[in-house]
Structure formats: C-alpha cells, structure tokens
C-alpha cells in the first residue's frame, strides 16, 4: 500500500514536471527581441550571413494589454536575399515564421511594416526570434536520433558550439585575407597614381610651352 502511494506520488510529480516543461516552452517571452514598428515606413533588420547557414525566425505582434487598440494590428513581412531574391513575403498577418538555408553570402534583410488599415498614430510592437547557424539547430531531433539526454545532450551542444567557433574563426581569417589584398592593391595604386600625377603635370606643362612657342613663332612675335 505504502509502495503504491509513493509510486503514485512519484507519477504525479513527474506529470507535473512534464506539464511545467511544456508550458515553460510554450511561453515565448523568454526568447527573442522586441522591435517597434513605426506607424508609417518600414522597420528592417539585417544580418550578414555566409553560405550554407540555416536561418530560422519566428515573429508575432505583441498584443497591448491596454484596451486602446480594439484589434491587433496586422503587419506585412518581406525577407530578401543579398541578390534581391524574395525568400518570404506575406501580408496581413499577426504572426508567422520563416526558415531558409543561405545559398549566397551577404546581407539578408527582413522588413516589417503595418498594413493599410491600422489606427493612425499608433505603432506596433513585434517580437522577433531570429536564429542563424548553431542557434537554429534542432537539438530535440539530435537527442532522439542519438538517444542521448541530460548532461550528455548538454555536452553535445557545447561540442557544437566549439565547432561553430572554429568555423567562424576560419571565416574571419578568409575575410581578413581578402581585405588585406584590397588594402595592398590600394597602397600600390596610391603610389603609382601619385607618380603618374607628377608625370601628367610635367607632360601638360611641356605641351603648353611647346604650343605657345609654335603659336608665337607663327605670329612672328618671337
């Protein structure tokens, strides 16, 4: 009997914990940033991302508690790649999400604006959860596939973070090499163009003198 009670108590306890876990993850206020969308004009955020990176984003319009707005304003969203391709474009929504894998390296832009029928003079607040690269990795599926949990899963996450740091360092190294090349070419251009400007000066003044001499000789002045 006592054993039954303790096992039931344990079962109730674990159910409560599971419920807490689920509800804690359903309340998205712990992640993401809030942005204010102006009444007119667009609010754009961008990130410079390299090639083959997974990007996940979730957004929703934050409902104001004060009853000033009788209905939630709707927004339109447009996400463009560095070369201008449209990755996600929706109108008149209050929430949504988009995901893509980058195929070109550059600045990815996400723009938000309020739709036509909104209250004048009142902006909206948008909750945006933008994750790229390692933060977008789905650890639940990794845990299920490799059948790990708890401390082992945390250590696998840390290993992923270290790998991401290593990849980022290599990327920074390549970018620095590119920039160094541009710097060095600009340096040699400055030297060459300055010497050439001296040459142009001498050539132009020589031409002037020669032209004036022939002109005056022709006019029989000298």
């Amino acid at each position: 009997m006592a054993q039954n009670l303790t096992s039931r108590a344990r079962a109730v306890c674990s159910v409560l914990v599971v419920v807490l876990f689920l509800t804690a993850n359903l309340v998205p206020v712990t992640e993401a940033i809030w942005l204010t969308i102006p009444t007119s004009g667009t609010k754009c955020v961008s990130e410079e991302i390299q090639n083959h990176v997974v990007v996940l984003a979730d957004y929703y319009v934050v409902v104001d508690e004060a009853p000033q707005q009788y209905r939630t304003p709707t927004i339109s969203v447009k996400v463009t790649s560095p070369y201008g391709n449209n990755l996600h474009h929706v109108e008149n929504v209050t929430h949504g999400q988009f995901a893509f894998t980058t195929t070109e390296s550059g600045s990815y832009l996400a723009c938000f604006w309020l739709d036509g029928e909104h209250q004048e003079g009142v902006g909206a607040t948008l909750n945006l959860d933008w994750r790229s690269g390692i933060a977008a990795r789905d650890w639940d599926s990794v845990a299920k596939k490799q059948k790990v949990e708890g401390v082992e899963l945390e250590l696998i996450k840390l290993e992923g973070a270290v790998q991401a740091i290593h990849d980022n360092l290599n990327y920074l190294k390549d970018r620095e090499a590119e920039m160094r090349q541009v710097s060095e070419s600009t340096n040699s251009k400055v030297a060459w163009l300055s010497i050439m400007s001296l040459g142009v000066c001498i050539v132009v003044s020589a031409l002037q003198l020669w032209h004036l001499k022939t002109y005056f000789r022709k006019k029989k002045l000298i």
């Binding site: 961008s46 945390e154 996450k157 920074l172 600009t186 003044s205």
Partner: protein, 213 residues
C-alpha cells in the same frame, strides 16, 4: 527499473532549467534618430552582455566619426548603462531585476547609420536554485559556466566580425576615392592648362592689339 524511474524527473527538470538559458540575438538595424530594442531578462542577477558596432558610416571630411549614443534602461526606468559618442563598444552588466530591458541607440546626426548589435542574456544556476531543487546536480552549474564562457567567445567573434565589416567599408571607400579623385585630378589639370593656353592666345589675338600686352 527503480533507478530509471528515479532518474526521469531529474532529467526532465534539468531539461526545463537548461532550456530556459542562453537567449541570443544578433542583428543589424538602421538608426535614423532613435532605435530601441527590447529584450526580456528572466532572472534577477543574470549577466547581460553584448556589443554593438556602427558599420555603415559616410563621413566625408573628418576621419573621426562623432559616433552614436547607447543607453540601457531597466524595467524600473533607471539607466543601467550608457555610452556617448562611440563608434562601437562592448557592454556587460548584472541585471538588478528581471523584466523587459530597453537597449536604445540614438543618432545625433541626420545621416542614417547602420548598427550591428549582439545581446546575450546568460543564467548560471546558483546555490539558491540548487537548494530549491534537490534534483539539480552541481555538474549543471559547471556546464552552465562552461556554456557562458563559450558564449563570451562567440560574442567576441561577432564583435570582431562587425568591426571587420566596418573596416571593409572603409577600405572600399578608400579604393574608390583613390581612383575617382586621381582621375578627376588629371582631367582638371588638363582642362586648367587648356584654359590657360586659350586665355594667353586670346591676349595675343589681333583684335586686341599686341602692343597693349
């Protein structure tokens, strides 16, 4: 069997607590006058760290950009941290209370600037959390500390990347200026000397009379 059923609630509790840590945002935004970003801090005492760099600046003459102002306001309304007239900075503070924190960029000049920022809120379970939940192992504290250390390395990398982007803009601008201004200078020189010659010829033309010169 007994061990497994005892381990399950511990594992789930660990997953609950560890899933609520490590909130990251890294983005660029164009600041016309004032741009504010809000981030929620879950626990009092959490370390909020981050950095921002003014990436796109079009200064014509002076090499020293006046910079932008940055302010962090706590949910209670008092200013936690502020920087004035900087072109990029790292910041770090312990949140005095939980709630919605406001990170504002203020651009005192009329040219819009693009600011790349990164904000990270990190939580390490302390003795209070350990005491509250007997299933929370001290190893989770160490893992949280290790994760925070790795996050700080990632934050440094994002700062370096943003600074590198700014440097690249400057380099590109220098390269363009060198080419265009030098070619422009040659053209101006040629035109000035041609005008000189024309003027001198005009001075010696018959209608004026060369005696007057």
């Amino acid at each position: 069997m007994e061990v497994r059923s005892q381990k399950k609630p511990w594992v789930v509790m660990v997953m609950v607590l560890l899933s609520l840590t490590g909130k990251i945002s890294s983005l660029s935004v164009t600041v016309n006058e004032v741009e504010c970003v809000y981030e929620y801090v879950l626990y009092e005492g959490d370390t909020v760290s981050g950095n921002f760099v003014v990436v796109d600046h079009d200064i014509f003459w002076s090499s020293d950009h006046p910079g932008i102002d940055f302010t962090v306001t706590s949910p209670a309304g008092n200013v936690v941290q502020t920087f004035k007239g900087v072109s990029g900075e790292k910041f770090d503070f312990k949140a005095p209370r939980s709630g919605m924190y406001k990170f504002c960029f203020h651009n005192p000049y009329s040219t819009p600037e693009t600011v790349s920022f990164y904000i990270h809120v990190g939580h390490i379970p302390n003795e209070h959390d350990l005491a509250k939940d007997e299933h929370l192992d001290p190893v989770n504290v160490k893992i949280a500390e290790l994760r925070e250390a790795l996050e700080s390395v990632t934050a440094e990398q994002k700062y370096l990347k943003a600074r590198d982007t700014r440097h690249r803009h400057t380099n590109e601008s220098t390269r363009k200026r060198v080419i265009f201004y030098t070619v422009g200078e040659y053209l101006m020189l040629a035109i000035a000397s041609a005008l000189q010659v024309i003027y001198i010829r005009q001075l010696f033309s018959k209608s004026v009379g060369y005696n007057r010169v």
